[in-house]
């Protein structure tokens, strides 16, 4: 037994695609390669990495939506995929893609989720209105169809949907993409507040380095499906500076470019385990 909220052990995932004459050839595309890491209970952990590096795939594995080819994952001591029903009770997920019934109103979308999670609809409605207010969502638009809402408003509904079920573990896949600076800050404040009040564990992917640095205690860097570095923001900066011989690295963005850039990835070296 561990007190880890998330434990990922040697997880690999490859997607196969048939091409060529009658599908005679198969292209193998690695999404995850021998990924190992853990997130402590109550910790906020950030996953960084270029497009296509496997961040969303990793989140899908942890959300019981993707079965790894190798390795295993444990959520709050529950093994996937054997205990996926129990795992589903403790996770909330926000993804970048708009995943709603677009003709249904915000209220109908959220109340459907509430019911499917077995919540009392009246209580859930009050709660979702409260969350939306904190996120700066105009309450007058609560009954509008999702398709009439802006990207940012939709994203706030998605965040509310994940928080509505009050999960001890939040999987946030680019939760603030498409939000204006004010809304971005609202979301960050909300997440920080949530951690303070409920000790919620957070796994976050983002392309916003400031957000990662502000919200996360530790960061993991994915490149081509491999976890190439891990540590606090300062540790990553230091490691990047040492490795590339660029003592000038001072921002997380520089570290990101140095660590996740092509140069390091092309060498098929093993993931650079824990820093620190």
């Amino acid at each position: 037994m561990s007190s880890y909220a998330i434990q990922v052990h040697n997880v690999s995932k490859v997607f196969r695609k048939r091409t060529g004459w009658l599908g005679s050839k198969t292209i193998r595309r690695w999404a995850l390669r021998n990924v190992n890491f853990h997130v402590e209970d109550g910790e906020a952990y950030g996953l960084l990495g270029p497009n296509g590096s496997g961040k969303s795939s990793l989140i899908r594995v942890l959300s019981t939506l993707l079965t790894p080819d190798e390795g295993w994952a444990e959520i709050m001591g529950m093994r996937l995929p054997d205990q996926e029903r129990d795992v589903r009770r403790v996770i909330g997920r926000v993804s970048v893609d708009a995943a709603y019934y677009k003709k249904l109103s915000a209220r109908e979308n959220l109340m459907f989720t509430a019911r499917v999670y077995g919540l009392d609809p009246a209580v859930a409605e009050r709660q979702s209105r409260a969350i939306l207010e904190q996120l700066g969502f105009d309450p007058k638009r609560f009954g509008d169809p999702l398709e009439d809402m802006s990207r940012g408003m939709q994203q706030k509904i998605a965040i509310t949907r994940a928080l509505l079920v009050d999960p001890p573990l939040l999987l946030l896949d680019e939760p603030t993409t498409g939000l204006d600076p004010k809304s971005k800050r609202d979301v960050m404040i909300f997440i920080e507040d949530l951690r303070r009040r409920k000790n919620t564990t957070i796994l976050l992917t983002t392309h916003d380095m400031n957000e990662a640095e502000r919200l996360c205690e530790r960061l993991g860097m994915l490149a081509h499906g491999k976890l190439v570095a891990e540590g606090t923001a300062d540790e990553l900066k230091r490691v990047a500076a040492l490795r590339d011989g660029f003592p000038s690295i001072s921002t997380l963005e520089d570290a990101f470019l140095a660590l996740a850039g092509e140069k390091l990835v092309d060498s098929d070296a093993a993931p650079a385990g824990e820093v620190a």
């Binding site: 079965t67 003709k103 249904l104 459907f112 019911r115 999670y117």
Partner: protein
């Protein structure tokens, strides 16, 4: 668990409400095409034929809607991009799909009643003497088998978004052909007869005709609908098919879900 199941009813009801113009178009289309079929019997001045066609269109209206609603539920979610969220919810597939089926059933009943009411506008019909309660039992008994078939068909769009919907439509038209909706299955070519024998609609139809008194129709009213005990064999076969097809449907569904999670097919794109 009941609340979770009703959650799907809640969702599907609101979807129907929000897509009401499409619902209206399909319902009116169903009514008009049913009327055109039954008017063939009127033109032939053949009451027996008219009754046969009426029972056929009503039963088909009910069964095809039930089948289709279930079969398309997953395709729709994949299209909307909500499938991952629905599959992530802590709800068993049994509760999920029973919720979907429950709504599909109510919707199919409503549609069939609407078509029936509409037909009275076009036709001078009397069901006096028919065993209508018996008909209800037949509909209920055949529902299970069609829920099972719907569950199996629902997995097709997961495997291939476009091809799946095509396959569902082909499957449905083959059912229409072999089940003798508008004619006795005896007129089908010999090589199609085995398919008629395994289609649940065949038994629903044959039982309905007996209960309506179409087979024994003598030319004047009232109808002499068969007693319920006369259709017990058909009811038995329908229930047996349900007992096989519903668990088979869930089994196929479960296998398909596991496969989709291995190959990354739950995602809308890819």
């Amino acid at each position: 668990m009941v609340r979770q199941m009703l959650g799907f009813v809640y969702r599907d009801w609101h979807l129907t409400r929000r897509y009401w113009s499409w619902v209206a178009v399909f319902t009116i289309y169903a009514l008009v095409s049913s009327a055109t079929v039954t008017l063939i019997g009127v033109a032939a001045k053949d009451v027996r034929l008219t009754l046969t066609l009426t029972v056929g269109v009503l039963l088909w209206s009910f069964l095809s809607v039930l089948f289709n609603e279930i079969a398309m539920s997953i395709a729709f979610e994949r299209w909307e991009g909500t499938l991952e969220y629905t599959f992530m919810a802590p709800v068993s597939r049994l509760v999920h799909m029973f919720g979907v089926s429950l709504y599909a059933l109510s919707y199919a009943v409503f549609r069939a009643l609407f078509v029936l009411a509409g037909l009275f506008v076009f036709l001078d019909l009397s069901f006096r003497g028919a065993n209508l309660w018996g008909m209800l039992v037949v509909l209920a008994a055949s529902s299970f088998a069609f829920v099972g078939l719907g569950l199996i068909a629902a997995t097709l769009p997961v495997m291939s978004p476009e091809r799946g919907a095509e396959a569902t439509n082909i499957f449905q038209s083959v059912l229409l052909l072999v089940s003798g909706i508008y004619y006795p299955v005896s007129v089908l070519p010999r090589w199609l007869q085995p398919l008629a024998a395994v289609s649940p609609a065949t038994y629903a139809l044959s039982a309905s005709r007996k209960l309506m008194g179409i087979d024994t129709y003598s030319g004047q009213a009232p109808l002499r609908g068969a007693a319920f005990s006369d259709v017990l064999p058909e009811i038995g076969i329908l229930l047996l098919m349900g007992v096989v097809l519903v668990p088979l449907g869930f089994f196929v569904f479960g296998r398909c879900e596991a496969w989709a999670k291995r190959t990354g097919k739950l995602k809308r794109t890819g």
